[in-house]
């Protein structure tokens, strides 16, 4: 079997699952080394995560929270986020971690009473937006107009 990159004999056979699909690659010793495949440290879940991220979004390694300066590297190293905004910035890399870490990914516990009204508001806005999109997709413009008005009213109420 020949190496994927050159004509040498392939001795390293790599199987990776990326985005739920299995990828196989055969490499010779030197190409494998050049790609960091033989160094187990380079094959951490983190790196695999980076390579899956790279296909659709900017490389995860360059992610940084503008609010507190926490980088993706910081998070991988220390396992801690720096502020509330980090949860938005790092959401793409966080979601798969949370699935493995917890019983579910939706909070089912206590809702702070002060936030209750805010939470309810956010939920209704989300709901209306989703319904609006469906209405537009179904070309039900009458319903869409009605939903748009409701949404506007809700947002105006919140500002008062």
């Amino acid at each position: 079997m020949k190496c994927h990159h050159c004509d040498k004999q392939a001795t390293v056979h790599l199987t990776q699952i990326l985005n739920g699909q299995m990828h196989k690659m055969d490499l010779c010793e030197s190409c494998a080394q050049a790609n960091g495949v033989t160094n187990p440290e380079n094959l951490s879940i983190g790196t695999l995560m980076d390579s899956t991220e790279g296909e659709t979004k900017p490389p995860a390694g360059s992610m940084v929270c503008e609010s507190c300066g926490t980088t993706h590297q910081d998070f991988k190293k220390g396992g801690r986020l720096g502020c509330e905004a980090c949860y938005h910035v790092f959401r793409p890399v966080l979601d798969p971690l949370l699935e493995g870490m917890h019983a579910g990914t939706q909070h089912l516990g206590k809702i702070p009473s002060g936030s209750e009204s805010r939470v309810k508001f956010e939920q209704s806005v989300d709901d209306l937006k989703k319904q609006l999109l469906t209405a537009i997709e179904n070309e039900d413009f009458e319903k869409a107009a009605q939903l748009r008005d409701e949404l506007k009213a809700l947002e105006q109420d919140a500002q008062v």
Partner: protein
């Protein structure tokens, strides 16, 4: 003032009741304030602002009447060590430099840490297996604080915490369990593996893994997101009840199979505690563990159970030095520890082997 508070710990008139197997129950809630970076990323000014906001929020609170508020900066190394040994604050909090604090209720069952890993760590603890009461108190305290400050909260992810392992409910419920039967019958590894499958973590209180000194283990939930607080606590509580059953079964079996050896072990423990002149804390823990076991077997009067629980803490290095009123070298601590144990166990009665069941 702080030393008055510490002194009250030992001489509290209302002795906490002490039951077999479960030493204490604890609930901890992790919370952060909106609009401030988490403590790890906060600048000193921001930490100070969070500290005073949190202290203000807890001022004049009924639940925390006559509480003591302290800044960690103001405490000596030894004071901090004492609080860690009493499990009131974490080793992490004892290491921080600026702008961290503690609010401690007068009955010492509530202790709120400010600017540890999260802005707020609300902790409630109580002797025995009492999740219902402990959760109720923690929940109330949390709601009252929340009426004064805005928490960082997301409707999907729940309470936002510095470490994603605490996300959602921010709840860590745990019990301190005395499991000498499972340790002696070498079943602890099996138990640890089985409960790990249920998302429950076991760690030695002093030491690691299945050979914790004193056979004391802290057992807690690992997952905090995707379930309600009630569901998390119920699952842990069920598991703990199973562990208590297993522990009692292991004890009975040890007594049936080789009662003489166990009785011999316990008698020797009494002998050493009565007559030692130098003793390290790990050995003391193991001997105290046997005394607690003997009390559960009715070989010693009930009061020895609460005495052991008190001694588990008072023989720790910080406490030995605190009693001495000054920092003491490790070798001299062993002498002082032995003195304390001789005094407390000097009049231990003969084991009641009739009562052993």
């Amino acid at each position: 003032m702080f030393h008055d508070l510490l002194n009250k710990f030992g001489s509290s008139k209302k002795k906490p009741k002490s039951i077999p197997v479960t030493l204490s129950t604890r609930i901890r809630l992790a919370r952060n304030l909106k609009e401030f970076p988490f403590p790890g990323k906060a600048e000193e000014g921001q930490r100070r602002a969070v500290l005073s906001k949190c202290m203000d929020a807890m001022n004049d609170m009924d639940t925390l009447k006559e509480s003591t508020s302290l800044e960690v900066d103001d405490l000596s190394e030894l004071d901090r060590q004492i609080l860690v040994e009493k499990h009131l604050i974490s080793p992490e909090l004892s290491q921080v430099d600026e702008g961290s604090g503690i609010v401690l209720s007068s009955d010492r069952n509530c202790c709120v840490m400010i600017n540890e890993e999260d802005h707020l760590r609300i902790q409630v603890l109580q002797p025995g297996l009492e999740f219902e009461k402990v959760w109720k108190r923690a929940d109330e305290l949390d709601s009252k604080i929340e009426s004064q400050v805005n928490y960082a909260y997301d409707c999907e992810l729940g309470f936002l915490t510095a470490c994603p392992t605490n996300l959602g409910t921010g709840l860590r419920a745990s019990a301190m369990m005395h499991l000498p039967g499972l340790v002696m019958s070498k079943n602890m590894d099996k138990v640890i593996n089985a409960v790990n499958q249920l998302g429950i973590a076991v760690r030695g209180l002093f030491g690691e893994g299945s050979d914790a000194s004193g056979s004391i283990f802290q057992i807690s939930n690992q997952q905090t997101l995707g379930e309600s607080e009630g569901a998390i606590i119920d699952r842990l509580n069920e598991t703990l009840k199973n562990i208590v059953t297993q522990e009692n079964f292991a004890r009975e079996k040890l007594m049936q199979d080789d009662g003489l050896r166990l009785t011999d072990k316990i008698s020797r423990a009494v002998g050493i505690l009565k007559s030692c002149h130098l003793i390290q804390s790990s050995e003391s823990m193991d001997l105290l563990s046997l005394i607690r076991l003997a009390t559960d077997f009715n070989m010693l009067p009930e009061r020895f159970r609460s005495l052991t629980d008190r001694m588990f803490i008072e023989i720790q290095p910080g406490h030995v030095q605190f009693s001495a009123g000054k920092p003491v070298e490790p070798s001299d601590r062993d002498r002082l520890r032995a003195e304390l144990l001789r005094k407390e166990f000097g009049r231990t009665p003969q084991l009641n082997l009739e009562g052993a069941s």
